[in-house]
Symmetry: C2
Subunit: 332 residues, 2 copies
């Protein structure tokens, strides 16, 4: 009798309380923010695509966080001003509002602080902030937009990074097949994908890759069980905190859209999901996944690809005679 | 009595025969093509934005023919593989289907022939055609699209350039204010703009800049009245024909969207429309335009900005383990 009651309650719960079931999963549905300032989003979108924020006039935020390609550049490390090779793999901008902090080492607290970095970084866009601001202020259509949004003509770094961050907040990718399954569509996943998810959970992957972004909620050492072999000199959080215990501690990347954001890890050294899963098994959870297990986990990971950003290609307002000229070929 | 009849006939013509008036103007309305193959256009659009057609995995057609910026890169000359400086200003891809031939020197007969050039050019995208084809053939979603369009899986250079060219055929910019005026809206232009257009015609500019693209219908010598001073070594049609008479003879560029496609001329040496108009006056028609005349001509030229391409940012299908890897940092 007690067994029967329990069974009835269980069935009742699964039919009438899907939210209770959802709460039991380490990965939770991801949703677009409801409270964005659309006026800021529109300016931020233009600036995200505007190469005039770079010294060369050739590189934009979208060059390395390409929204046609999962918000990444699919390169081991990015191409910067003068074709300088970047020091680290460019993380996806998709769902980056969910990151506990920005950059692999978390040195920026939020998207707004992050946005200022690459513009002025001599190895990336290489444009002094004051010149970037001068460029924007020289273009009447931008001035008009800032005026409409902020109530006056002042173009400041604070406002520029504010609107770029507001645009980036919209770059959320809901409605993946995994989200559909999470929210009650039992047919959304195949049995292999579900088994892959069970393996993901039962082997400890969800200990770090959890929450709506399936990651991004904590810093973790790269190489918990055994050391990670790499030529890349990045030391992660250590560069920010100076603590020995933070050596090789990086922000756990989101697994959302992981199918699109190859190559993998902070050094971009691994080009396939299969290899990435096996390396993670080895060095993080001490499990040598079989090829069959790996294939199932990879099939689960591919269900995390959600709706990609969907908007009209932005149109950028033309420069004027007052606009500082791009300088692509000067000395670095 | 004859005067009165003439007046009545004139009024009648202007009221009832706007097409007759239109025919009298050297610049004619531009219209989007009606007969495009939308299936080809969609693949071509993706390939136009796909940096995997380049050796680096970083440069796409859109890098130098940026559809957010008038189909140009707004640089003196373009950035190629490894940050090589291009030899000539990147012409706009907008309305390029109207060009009598492609490239400044007309060395490609049409868009299809043109599209093959930059992909394999070692100074541009630097990707051997066979590798570019291998990349596309390794991506199931592309194969599926080619199959749906052509009836089989074969990915050939002929088909790739065919779909890119078909997409480019759609990059027409109708509905400029000048077109509205041409087609009967008398209030579409200000009096300054109309006076600028009259100056444009009465000073011989329309001798070369005519037709729906306001140019692109013939080759012409750069420096008819006096020599054009430039450090750029390009010799125009001479490079194609070897005829002395073709030295410094270039394709007359379209003036459509000229406000967006700075800097100007084949060497990209002039950054403002005002200077461009004055140089053209000097060396092509032997007229030293006053500042007032120049301003009026420039105000007319700005009425040639039409509807810019309007479509959703393309989404690119991900690579697979079979996709040739990008090679951004290898030897040039």
């Amino acid at each position: 009798m007690r067994t029967l009651s329990f069974l009835i309650l269980s069935i009742g719960a699964s039919i009438f309380l899907p939210s209770a079931l959802m709460a039991a999963e380490p990965i939770t549905p991801i949703e677009s923010p409801a409270d964005v300032d659309t006026s800021k989003v529109e300016i931020g979108k233009q600036l995200f695509f505007d190469p005039r924020l770079s010294k060369s006039g050739f590189l934009s935020c979208n060059s390395c966080h390409n929204l046609s390609m999962g918000g990444s550049d699919n390169l081991t490390s990015s191409v910067g001003h003068g074709w300088q090779q970047g020091p680290i793999n460019s993380p996806t901008v998709l769902n980056s509002a969910y990151n506990l902090a920005q950059f692999w080492d978390g040195r920026a607290a939020d998207l707004k602080e992050q946005a200022a970095g690459p513009i002025a970084n001599p190895g990336e866009m290489a444009q002094p902030h004051e010149v970037a601001l001068e460029v924007i202020a020289s273009i009447p259509e931008y001035v008009k937009s800032f005026n409409a949004t902020f109530g006056d003509d002042s173009i400041t770094l604070d406002r520029v990074t504010d609107v770029i961050a507001e645009f980036e907040r919209t770059l959320v990718t809901p409605n993946s097949r995994f989200d559909k399954w999470l929210t009650g569509d039992e047919d959304a996943l195949t049995s292999d994908e579900l088994e892959g998810y069970q393996l993901f959970k039962s082997n400890g992957c969800a200990g770090c890759h959890n929450g709506p972004a399936a990651g991004a909620t904590l810093f973790q050492k790269m190489g918990i069980v055994s050391a990670y072999e790499t030529d890349n000199p990045a030391q992660g959080r250590y560069a920010v905190t100076g603590k020995e215990s933070d050596r090789m501690v990086f922000k756990v990347p989101t697994l959302r859209n992981i199918e699109l954001t190859y190559p993998y890890f902070h050094d971009g050294s691994v080009s396939t999901l299969e290899e990435a899963v096996q390396v993670m098994g080895d060095i993080q959870v001490g499990r040598r996944f079989t090829n069959v297990e790996t294939a199932k986990i990879v099939s689960f990971l591919k269900t995390l690809t959600g709706d990609q950003p969907n908007f009209a290609l932005p149109r950028l307002p033309p420069s004027t005679p007052n606009t500082p000229q791009p300088n692509p070929y000067g000395a670095l």
